[in-house]
Each structure stands twice: as structure tokens, then as C-alpha cells.
């Protein structure tokens, strides 16, 4: 339909024109509110992610993604890799076991996997005369991580192949191995058994 010069765009004359302008202003105000609200949510989420990063100190991208997934309860370990690790562990192939555990839990967010990783450090580092401090030290770090990840810090693993079922026992054993005292000179130490 052709429009005469000066004729309003909308039907209804001046009133229609005002209504259209008011509607345009309303839309712009609503759009601005939406943009501001979305920006606020984005900024708060981003700031929370930054705080999490500085507190947790993730080193790899897998740790970042795994940590964020764990925070919303969506993190799952690779069960096949965990089973492989367990099989290696039972055959006393500790290096291979740790590689499989690392593959199973790349973000280091699963308490049980970290417990087994710590146990592998213990068994590999244990000796009748002396223990390997480097392996025991790494094992202590892993078991501390496992305790931190476990609900209320309590972790019990019911595995008949193990002689220490709780993370607290394992931690005490690792700490005892790292300690230097007079009992280190006791010749009866060679009689003790690996747990």
C-alpha cells in the first residue's frame, strides 16, 4: 500500500506513532536489562572459576576440566583403566599400575584411585633395611590428596589383597618410613613384613 508524504507509519495517527516509539523504547530497555543481567552472571561465574583456579592450582587442562566437572558431580573415572591399574598393582608392577591409575583419574579427583596410587608408592618404596624416601614422600602426597577428596576425610577400601584398608593406616605407615629415629638401628627391622 502506498503511503502519502507525512502519513504516519502505523495506523492510528499520532497516537499510533507514540505507541510505536514507546514500544521501541520499552524493547530497548528490556534488551539492556537482559544484556546487563547476562553479563553479571557471566562475570560472577568467571570470577568464581578464577578463585577456584588459584585455590586448587591445577597444572593440566585435564585437572581444570575434571575439577570443574567434579564440582557439579559429573566427574567419572575411566573404569577400564582403573581395572588395568589394579591388575598391575596385584602383580607388583607398580610403575605400570601408576600409569594406568593416572589414565583412569587424569584430574586427580577420585579418592580410591589416589589411595591405590599411594599404596603403589608404598609397596615399591618399601625395603627390609631402608625405604625409598622419594617414593614414600610421593606416596604421602597422594594419600593426603585421597584423604582430602574422601567424604569427611574418611576413606576405607575393602580389598582383601591389601593389609591396610584405611587411608589413615597407610598415611601412618608412610610417615613412619620417612621418620629418622633410633628404631632405624634395630636389627630386628629386617624381620618385618611389607603390608
Amino acid at each position: 500500500m502506498l503511503r502519502a508524504p507525512g502519513e504516519p507509519l502505523f495506523a492510528g495517527g499520532r497516537r499510533g506513532r507514540y505507541t510505536a516509539r514507546a514500544g521501541c523504547r520499552y524493547n530497548r530497555a528490556v534488551r539492556e536489562q537482559i544484556v546487563r543481567g547476562a553479563g553479571l552472571v557471566m562475570a560472577i561465574a568467571y570470577a568464581s572459576a578464577i578463585t577456584w583456579t588459584y585455590v586448587r592450582q591445577p597444572y593440566t587442562v585435564a585437572q581444570v576440566t575434571g575439577g570443574l566437572a567434579a564440582s557439579v558431580g559429573a566427574y567419572r573415572i575411566d573404569s577400564q583403566a582403573f581395572a588395568d591399574g589394579l591388575a598391575f598393582f596385584k602383580q607388583d608392577k607398580f610403575v605400570e599400575a601408576r600409569a594406568a591409575f593416572a589414565r583412569a583419574d587424569p584430574a586427580e579427583r577420585d579418592a580410591v584411585t589416589q589411595f591405590y596410587a599411594a599404596y603403589s608408592h608404598y609397596r615399591q618404596g618399601w625395603g627390609r633395611v631402608y625405604s625409598d624416601d622419594a617414593l614414600f614422600g610421593e606416596g604421602l602426597k597422594r594419600v593426603d590428596l585421597a584423604i582430602a577428596l574422601a567424604p569427611a576425610g574418611r576413606l576405607v577400601v575393602e580389598d582383601p589383597a591389601l593389609q591396610m584398608h584405611s587411608a589413615d593406616e597407610l598415611r601412618a605407615e608412610l610417615e613412619a618410613g620417612l621418620r629418622r629415629d633410633a628404631s632405624d638401628l634395630n636389627p630386628l627391622r629386617v624381620m618385618r613384613q611389607r603390608k
Binding site: Q33, R36, A38, G39, A43, A47
Partner: protein
């Protein structure tokens, strides 16, 4: 200033700087929080930004603005503070005499800027020069002294230099990508500062002679 710039662009720029400014991939704990001294310097930076009119806080937080808009403004302020702290921390050498010297020089330069009360353009130029110089010192000059790669002659010369300066100059080696990363963040910081809502100025031409025209800030 558009709502998108205030709600998205500025927080995104400054929060990205605040996040990655503390990244040190060569360290055992790769995410480093800013030092206390860099927080002191940041307060001076914020004061210089406001005094020069580069940042007009009343355009971000004001009683006449809606609550959401004020919340956006608050986020911009906090993120700017975090980004400034991380940039200053990133540009300061980690240890030894260079850390002390750069800290003192940055403090003196920012104090001088506060006393001079420059306008927006001069402040932006001043920031570019200060951050650029600190970048060259840490990521070009000191990094080349800490570079472990090179021939035997270079290593002997570096060892002699280390002995002559009693080990006070040399720094721990940086990650190969650290310089590129820092350059990008400094550039992003300067862009972010230039995008801040500035104070509006007018020339009161009718009141003052041409030669004595002063910039008067309108609230």
C-alpha cells in the same frame, strides 16, 4: 557507554588478565597471586586513573542507575583492580636486585603520575611507556641473562657476570612462552584501560582567556 561494553567486554578483558597474569608454567604452583607490594601499586594506579578522568566511577556506580547496572559497574571496578595487580606483579622480576629496583621505580613513577595529575591521553601514554619498559627489562633483558641454552662462551660469560654481581641480578629461567603471553596481556590491559568510561570534559570558553583555558570536569 553501551551496556554490552560495561557488562561483557570490560569484565571479560580484565578478568582474563586477572586469571592469566598470575600463570607461571615453570613454577611448581603455576598460579601465583599478586604480591602485597603490587596491591599497593594498584591502589596508586586506580587513583591515577580516577584523577586523570580515564575512569569515571560515577558513570559506573551511581544512585540514579538501576541495581543491575550498578552491579555491572562494581564488577568492572573489582576486575580492573585484579587485572592491574596481576599486570604489575607479572612485570616485576621475581627475585634479587631487579625486583627491588623495578618496585622502587614503579612506585616513584606512579607517585609522580599522581602528583602531576595528567589528562587521559597523557596517562594512557605514560602507562604504555611504563608497562612497555618493565616488559622489556624482565622478558627481554633479564630473560636473556637467565637463558640456559647457548654455546660454551655464552655460558662462561653469564657465569662470570653472575659472579661479578654476586648472583643478585640473575633470575630463574622463564617458560619459553612467558614473554609472548605477557606481551599479549599487557596489550589487552592497555586496550581495557582505554575502553573505560572516562569523565566528560568541557571548555569554559566564556569565562577564561584563551591562553588559560583549563579543563573542567563536569559531574
Amino acid at each position: 557507554m553501551s551496556a554490552a561494553r560495561e557488562a561483557f567486554a570490560l569484565p571479560l578483558i580484565f578478568l582474563t588478565i586477572a586469571l592469566f597474569g598470575g600463570l607461571d608454567p615453570a613454577a611448581r604452583d603455576p598460579w601465583t597471586a599478586p604480591s602485597l607490594f603490587s596491591l599497593v601499586l594498584t591502589v596508586m594506579v586506580m587513583a591515577a586513573l580516577v584523577r586523570s578522568g580515564t575512569l569515571a566511577p560515577e558513570r559506573l556506580i551511581h544512585g540514579s542507575r538501576p541495581v543491575v547496572a550498578n552491579a555491572n559497574g562494581l564488577i568492572v571496578h573489582f576486575s580492573l583492580f585484579g587485572a592491574s595487580a596481576q599486570v604489575l606483579n607479572m612485570l616485576t622480576p621475581r627475585s634479587g636486585l631487579p625486583a627491588l629496583l623495578v618496585g622502587v621505580v614503579l612506585f616513584a613513577l606512579l607517585l609522580n603520575t599522581l602528583v602531576m595529575s595528567p589528562d587521559r591521553a597523557r596517562l594512557l601514554r605514560s602507562f604504555a611507556v611504563v608497562t612497555g619498559s618493565a616488559f622489556v627489562l624482565k622478558f627481554v633483558m633479564l630473560a636473556s641473562l637467565a637463558d640456559t641454552e647457548g654455546g660454551r662462551t655464552k655460558r662462561v660469560l653469564l657465569a662470570l657476570f653472575d659472579v661479578a654481581t654476586l648472583g643478585t641480578i640473575s633470575q630463574a629461567p622463564l617458560h619459553p612462552a612467558a614473554g609472548y603471553w605477557a606481551f599479549m596481556l599487557v596489550l589487552l590491559f592497555l586496550i581495557g584501560v582505554a575502553l573505560l568510561p572516562s569523565a566528560v570534559y568541557r571548555y569554559p570558553t566564556g569565562l577564561q582567556p584563551y591562553s588559560e583555558r583549563a579543563l573542567t570536569r563536569t559531574e
